[in-house]
Symmetry: C2
Subunit: 426 residues, 2 copies
């Protein structure tokens, strides 16, 4: 399986061991369709399906790869996901010659990645954002309340809030600096709030997973079965306007400080591809309630990185190096907790981790933490300083697992901060 | 227009002045389709459209009434909504004889309401819940912090949070008492939280509106144009598990304490039907920021009622009489504020008011307020007391505007509290 009929550069995140799913348009006017990233190419799954090469028992009669989102495929569950992976690995390795020997099909089905336009890969019904990093939670407490503390509930349940699904966008989409109300300059309550473009625009490095098969209202997913409902992961930038957020969030939580845009990387890396990178999850003390207790507790070792590339600069400056494995609550615990009250999940729902800060200064995963809410300056390695993001900054997240001689990466999740320039149009 | 070819009982909420939209199935196995309530009947709009009776310029070539939700029709905007209303009023009043004189079509298109099954009328992309009642906000503050106070932001913006869209259900759907974690009996943080069925299940009387035409990410809807984006209103029960809610909600707001079910009434009453019930909205002091300042500020006079019908009882006990007009923030302000940061709205999005408590003891719109969070008992007029809801309680909301000789009502939004009995199935 180490060989591949498509050349894969050694530093490519998209080796034959990865095979992440996305939705792309071969050209701007073409219909969106499912694809798999391989090296510098995209394998058009609709072309492979039309050619009859998905000939396993579950996929041979399915139309899932002729659709404009991955939802139908995601809804089919792990047996279908394994069948698809096995088929594509056979085709790309040349183990079966049907793609390798068909030059017409190869030309149609393998499209240079720099020619395609990526889309949000699924119709997202609901998006939930968790708050699973102990370091992030304690750092926020220190900044706002003066002490490294956790809320009383934090060690007992994965805290979360409902996010805005409509404004989830794919990597590469410009992010417009939001307008809004912010905290009055004097805290006596008599100075009215100011209004204008956010002055404290931030990134938050997160990862998120897509729900595969859902569950009905009134049912619950057990911790033992939780991973059967998880299709795969993406990188996420939960852009945050801190000034808007802090003024609006009492008492009901984040709203407009977040809902102006949430970026995700286009390629969904499956749990099958991440299997070699399983590792221990942090020990939980106190022990959690039985419904959250995992029979085999694990997480994934996924090194993550943030960089800022100011407009006009040639080099990007890395601002954070952290790891998915630092999260206190696992994906299984998040999903199980989400359904404990009978809340239904639908295929395509997106559950995000919250900001993934680690234990070190280098691993702080948002500018709020890195600058103590703008009280200090953060120095970029290639020049310049930041308290918060400036117009023209491109923020680039990446994540890559290095195995013994192979790579399973997420590619990048990027967004360019655009000045608020549009008029009131609607 | 006072006459109608369908008999309309004097006390029916669905007079020819109303004509609310819903989605129904004529039988359990039939496909959902749009309809209008008229007296004790449902007018099947797919049948009217198929017969070619929507012959105005906007609707004659549209397939919107052949779909299984109202989204396409809602997206067309007010000119199409006015055209549809005029056509249906002409047909039902007998002004044009095309329906009146066609007994076959009448039989097919007018279905007794007690034979149909109602559905959620639109595909809801995102659901947002506001917090617009000054009385409710102050009462909650009194209960939890000992004083009738508003958060510092409250008079400057309509506070809101993202709700869960997947668990919005139509009136008549049973509500399963949720399981969850709750506050430890001792506040020293050393007693672990308890787990089980919620002990503090509550209703919240709200109203919600559906978004018609949406807006793109990065755009904003001005206050002057806000009503062009509002299709119509429904009653809403934002069921709340207070014990789960209070334990989980710090610091990110409501989550599982709400997401186990949110009921809406099936019939969407349009702004055209509510036009005769326009009234002054509460004066705002301090004045709000210019983007929220309405050139012609108004709201609607909609009397609302809550009743509880315990299982086995013949009579329902009214527990609350309040009015939509008490809300401090109008629908236009809610919608405009929602987009001020560039957040996109999609057709079918649902924006709810928050609990509509009024100034009097009779007008408290949830049990939390009526019993001071279970510290007092609320006496039902037909016998029994409640601190919170019991299994077998049916909660019934109604809303009805009485004009000079005519009625524009919402019907009811009801739900039956079902004991948590299901096993772990998924």
């Amino acid at each position: 399986m180490a060989t591949c009929i498509v050349p894969v550069p050694a530093d490519s995140p998209f080796s034959i061991h990865n095979l992440p799913y996305g939705v792309f348009r071969p050209s701007a006017s073409a219909a969106p369709r499912p694809g798999i990233a391989i090296g510098d190419h995209v394998l058009d799954l609709s072309a492979i399906a039309t050619a009859g090469l998905f000939n396993g028992p579950l996929l041979s009669s399915s139309c899932c790869f002729s659709e404009t989102t991955l939802n139908s495929f995601m809804a089919m569950g792990r047996p279908a996901w394994k069948e698809a992976r096995a088929t594509v690995q056979q085709l790309l390795s040349g183990e079966v010659p049907t793609l390798q020997d068909n030059s017409d099909l190869k030309k149609r089905a393998l499209i240079p990645m720099n020619e395609v336009k990526m889309e949000v890969p699924a119709a997202i019904g609901d998006y939930t954002d968790f708050f699973c990093s102990e370091h992030h939670t304690k750092n926020c407490s220190k900044i706002f309340r003066g002490e490294f503390a956790l809320p009383p509930n934090w060690l007992h349940l994965p805290v979360a809030y409902h996010g805005r699904a409509s404004s989830v966008v794919v990597s590469g989409t410009d992010i417009t600096r939001p307008m809004g109300q912010s905290f009055p300059p004097t805290p006596d309550g008599k100075t009215p709030p100011y209004f204008g473009p956010s002055r404290r625009l931030d990134y938050e490095l997160e990862m998120a997973f897509f729900v595969g098969p859902g569950c009905e209202l009134g049912d619950r997913v057990t911790i033992e079965n939780a991973y059967d409902h998880i299709f795969g992961l993406v990188l996420m930038n939960d852009w945050s306007a801190r000034d808007i957020q802090f003024w609006e969030a009492q008492p009901l939580g984040p709203f407009l400080g977040k809902s102006f845009g949430t970026s995700i990387s286009p390629w969904i890396v499956t749990l099958e591809a991440l299997e070699p990178f399983k590792c221990d999850a942090p020990k939980q003390d106190p022990p959690c309630l039985p419904y959250l207790t995992e029979p085999f507790r694990f997480t994934f070792d996924i090194p993550l990185e943030v960089a800022i590339k100011p407009v006009g600069d040639e080099k990007k400056s890395v601002t954070c190096r952290t790891n998915f494995k630092y999260l206190y609550w696992t994906m299984a615990q998040q999903l199980t907790h989400h359904t404990i009250n009978g809340c239904n999940l639908r295929t395509g729902d997106l559950l995000a981790s919250g900001t993934i800060s680690g234990p070190d200064r280098d691993s702080l995963a948002c500018l709020l933490e890195q600058t103590s809410n703008g009280q200090e300056e953060f120095t970029l390695e290639h020049g310049g300083v930041r308290k918060y993001l400036e117009d023209g900054d491109e923020v680039i997240f990446s994540g890559c697992c290095k195995g013994d001689g192979f790579t399973v990466g997420f590619g990048t999740c990027s967004g360019f901060v655009e000045r608020f320039a549009r008029l009131l149009l609607v």
